[in-house]
Symmetry: C2
């Protein structure tokens, strides 16, 4: 039964897409069938996984707004065991259209119900906002993974995000758990990163995932080649850290 994990943080540029694409690919590499859902109109997760947005006949927009059968929008990727439900250009208009639909917060949850059987993990990439698309992703998810860039502005937004997660848990999804806070772009030479990491660990202790993602230029180069980093350069520190993250989450799931 698919475990649905949403990758969310309204702060921009913290590594949500990089985490969604590379975690999904690392789970597939560990032979856990995985579906990557791109819930961001920017469509970065779609391209980062090597799927050409222009070639998609249908994507999440058609599933949410036109009630297309989600199975018809899922495509394969260059990796065995990794499928993508992508974001086409239409997604830019999705939030406005969804706002007036019946049961607007549950559209994604309902769409994924039919797909859960076929995957062990479903990973959802969210846009940098707390609008309808992110609310839909939190309502559909078993848990939320929060990438946190080790920078000052990123720390500022964390309490707002955790308040929103609590509100969604209370009103829309009582099963929503915090999978954890993932420290990203961690540069050991940078004092600020140490300070932010210490701050977060002292406030949120056991909620901080033990895997830390280092700043690694290969992670930002891989998307320009349309590949997850484990296919671009499996030996680099970026790839190794996402493979470790996948193992950490698999152990949690298997031990229930």
């Amino acid at each position: 039964m698919g475990r649905i994990i949403s990758i969310a943080n309204q702060k921009g540029g913290v590594g949500k897409t990089t985490t969604a694409v590379n975690l999904a690919a690392s789970l597939a590499a560990a032979e856990r069938r995985c579906l990557l859902v791109d819930c961001d109109p920017q469509g970065n997760a779609t391209t980062g996984a090597g799927v050409s947005r222009a070639s998609l006949r249908a994507g999440l927009y058609e599933v949410l707004v036109d009630s297309l059968n989600p199975g018809k929008a899922v495509v394969e990727t260059c990796m065995n065991g990794l499928h993508v439900l992508g974001a086409t250009g239409d997604m830019v208009g999705a939030e406005v259209e969804m706002a007036s639909m019946e049961g607007k917060e549950f559209l994604l949850k309902r769409a994924l119900n039919g797909l859960k059987e076929g995957y062990e993990f479903i990973i959802i990439d969210c846009p940098p906002s707390l609008g309808f698309l992110t609310i839909n992703a939190l309502t559909a998810a078993n848990s939320v993974l929060v990438p946190l860039q080790c920078e000052y502005y990123a720390l500022e937004g964390l309490s707002q995000l955790l308040r929103t997660v609590k509100a969604v848990k209370k009103r829309l999804n009582p099963f929503l758990a915090l999978e954890g806070i993932l420290l990203t772009m961690y540069d050991i030479r940078n004092n600020l990163a140490h300070q932010v990491a210490q701050d977060v660990r002292s406030h949120f202790s056991d909620k901080v995932l033990s895997t830390v993602i280092p700043r690694n230029v290969k992670l930002s180069e891989a998307p320009s080649h349309g590949k997850p980093v484990i296919l671009y350069d499996i030996g680099c520190r970026g790839a190794q850290s996402y493979l470790a993250l996948a193992q950490e989450l698999i152990k949690r799931k298997d031990s229930g």
Copy 2:
């Protein structure tokens, strides 16, 4: 008469807030009175300019949604000639409330009309989305400055943003011009940055501003001290690049 420049890009984490705060401070240092408007519910520009969000009696939310006189929400900062119209916690609900208001795209334009006389520049920081708040900022502005991180995903979103700017110019603000594309977080050691910069210069040639902002850790440290970078460490490359940007924009304005 105040020239209104919106700092916009729906891609997250590209340096919008860092540019808004440090450009506004650099303009004030050049004795051009400047108002910084925080149109992002995250409120990073408010804190980055040294204003405590909790201490604000009123902010942009009260001005847009409750029709408060904007002059009553403007506060001074630790720098002469730099004022802030900040974002309080209520801003999280602004977009939903504005969606049902009369003339919803013109709310910010109308609010700033009364303030333009008192400043030579008004700089507006936008959230990482193309929703109502960003549309309001583009409708109120004389021009839009687009910070572009020299990374692959950031390049992907540029054409969508420029389409939105054209659409706003056609339907809501015929005077809207592109101030320019500002290359940010430019790391000369990084091949990808060179490639992206070359790509952008070949596609957009004269629209790329001559000032380039280098990656510089002082720029990410300054906000944790509640100061624009020119007050934190004026000699660093980050501060020098924003002082140069201010000069580039002043020359353009003065030569009309």
